[in-house]
Symmetry: C2
Subunit: 357 residues, 2 copies
């Protein structure tokens, strides 16, 4: 008889799926998932699952251990991030796993937080628990990109998302602008907005397109923070992205009537880097930059774009606006992407990749 | 016992593969392939294959029938284009199929040539042969696009090929230009050059990049005609694309020292449409346009681009030159592509599609 014990990677994928349920809700904490598996004679059995739903609430391990109860004894715990070893708002998860009698802990990625950074794993090993690490590490690091950016760089992970025609245009020159990509691509953008902490646009895009920057048509979706980069304070109080939690980024010394809106948090920044650091202070770990090209080019020139998500629509515009306008340099000096995914979404082609900046 | 008779589409694909061996060699004739299949008790057997190698040489059916010999009697012939019914440089293929005693003829696409246009099929049916049509018709029509364009429009099928960065740039502004796409993409371009009748660039690209427009690194490859659109006659005699068969397209009334090169054919044209008609007269059925943006935009504005083959390279340039610079219009009025293929080629993404112009 074949006994069926799926490899560690399969269970870790389930743990990553658990973690994903918390995306956009956990900052400044990381999204974490946990699955507890008990080996049986014939097949393994999942006895507990959990994810971290929100900062201040219990960690993923706690939910999974609660569900497993006594069945956690001798079982394997799959966790997407190294269990914490320090007392935070909740007791250390490493201690909880030890107390529950777990025999083996499989971890996707270490915790870069200086308060953890290997100590969680040491604590588990010291208690006689078998520890394996690095299972689906790249996927976990990617899922935790916002948290890791906050911890290691003090600024959010910045994703520039745009849709362009096959001749490289994001908008017409004459402001006669319909959507570039199809409905499937726009649905995907809604899913992304639901998973990030904040969505940003520049003043020109906010004025011309007046986007809501919210989540529509998604069950259980929640709106991210809207961030408006409006250095000169040109935006009117009627901007549709103004709602509870909206952030307005002004140049130092500027003011605007929007400041008086009690729902709006105003940041004064001397640079994009400074603005990102202030956003980090508000708990923004992931920022989805939705344009326009002027703002995105400033981010790009400052080396502040970490990831691209680009829809290429099968249409030709002719003249039009490019997704990036600067800097001027030679093709040899172009910034390379590490492509993570190429996918056909409706009629459009989606390319996702990371920038090593 | 299972008898194995693959469906018609599988044999037609083999016939298309045969036809492809003639691509770039047959103009003004079409590339055509033929496979002759004899049903056996257990399995079918391919008893003959052939393709049209070159104008003036026998048609695909003739080679396949020769190979099949007596085994053609009662067999099925798969032909990618309706067999001809008229005496051309060779006797009609419909007559040859009838004489060989073929029982069934499967055809991918009808012949739009007014001298055929259904008469080949009629002739076969009148002789008591079972005829099926439309098998892999779209693929066949695509493979015969050049021939069909010549016959129905009197001009070549025009393909615009370019490689752009993920921010939509085909070249740097400062003329510091390395290659945009990777070696796998460039190898694919060599294969395309081998399959088309001619490759064209504008004067600016010919001056700046001085491309050879030939086929390199491909076993059995042959160079297409090089076509240089140089309306004002700026190109020097040292241009690397000048070789036997090179075509120089000048504005009417212009002259250039290059005209004295005995290898060069000079066309004087008052419009791109007129130039294409003259190229058709030279037997150019398929034209691969390799840039630059100024020439391609003129073709695009004139509605003379039929197909796009675009490599999107995973890199960001910043400022740069767009693949198309005109016309100015709104996004709603963008020209839609019918996407035929999306493929990852090396590190690049290839998108191929047709324009309904």
């Amino acid at each position: 008889m074949n006994t069926e014990h799926p490899p560690d990677a399969e269970y870790m994928q389930l743990a990553l799926n658990e973690a994903a349920k918390g995306l956009g809700r956990t900052s400044p904490n990381p999204p974490v998932g946990c699955v507890i598996v008990r080996d049986g004679e014939i097949a393994s059995e999942i006895v507990g699952r959990g994810f971290h739903p929100k900062a201040g609430e219990p960690h993923a391990e706690v939910f999974a251990l609660r569900e497993a109860g006594e069945r956690a004894r001798g079982a394997t715990a799959y966790v997407t991030l190294e269990p914490c070893s320090h007392d935070g708002r909740t007791p250390p998860c490493a201690d909880a796993l030890i107390a529950a009698g777990v025999a083996r802990v499989v971890v996707a990625a270490g915790d870069p937080n200086p308060q953890v950074n290997g100590r969680g794993l040491e604590k588990l090993r010291a208690a006689g628990i078998e520890v394996a690490t690095g299972v689906l590490e790249a996927a976990a690091v990617r899922q935790q990109a916002g948290f890791r950016s906050l911890v290691t760089r003090g600024r959010p992970h910045v994703i520039y998302k745009y849709a362009m025609t096959l001749d490289g245009k994001v908008a017409a020159l004459n402001e006669g602008n319909g959507p570039v990509s199809g409905p499937e691509a726009r649905a995907r953008v809604m899913a992304w907005r639901n998973e990030v902490d904040a969505v940003a646009v520049g003043a020109r895009t906010a004025l011309l397109d007046n986007p809501q920057l919210n989540v529509r048509g998604l069950d259980g979706g929640r709106d991210p923070r809207a961030v408006l980069f409006d250095p000169e304070g040109h935006l009117p109080a009627s901007a549709r992205a103004v709602r509870e939690g909206t952030v307005l980024v002004l140049r130092e010394g500027r003011s605007t009537p929007l400041e008086r809106d009690p729902r709006v948090t105003v940041l004064h920044a001397h640079s994009l880097q400074g603005a990102l650091e202030q956003l980090a202070g508000l708990g923004v770990a992931t920022l989805l930059l939705e344009g326009g090209p002027t703002l995105a080019s400033a981010f790009f020139e400052a080396g502040l774009i970490d990831e691209l998500r680009v829809f290429v629509a099968p249409k030709l515009l002719g003249a039009g606006l490019s997704p990036l306008l600067a800097p001027v340099r030679s093709m040899h000096a172009a910034t390379e992407l590490a492509v993570e995914r190429v996918e056909v979404v409706g009629n459009d082609v989606l390319v996702i990749g990371g920038l090593s900046v």
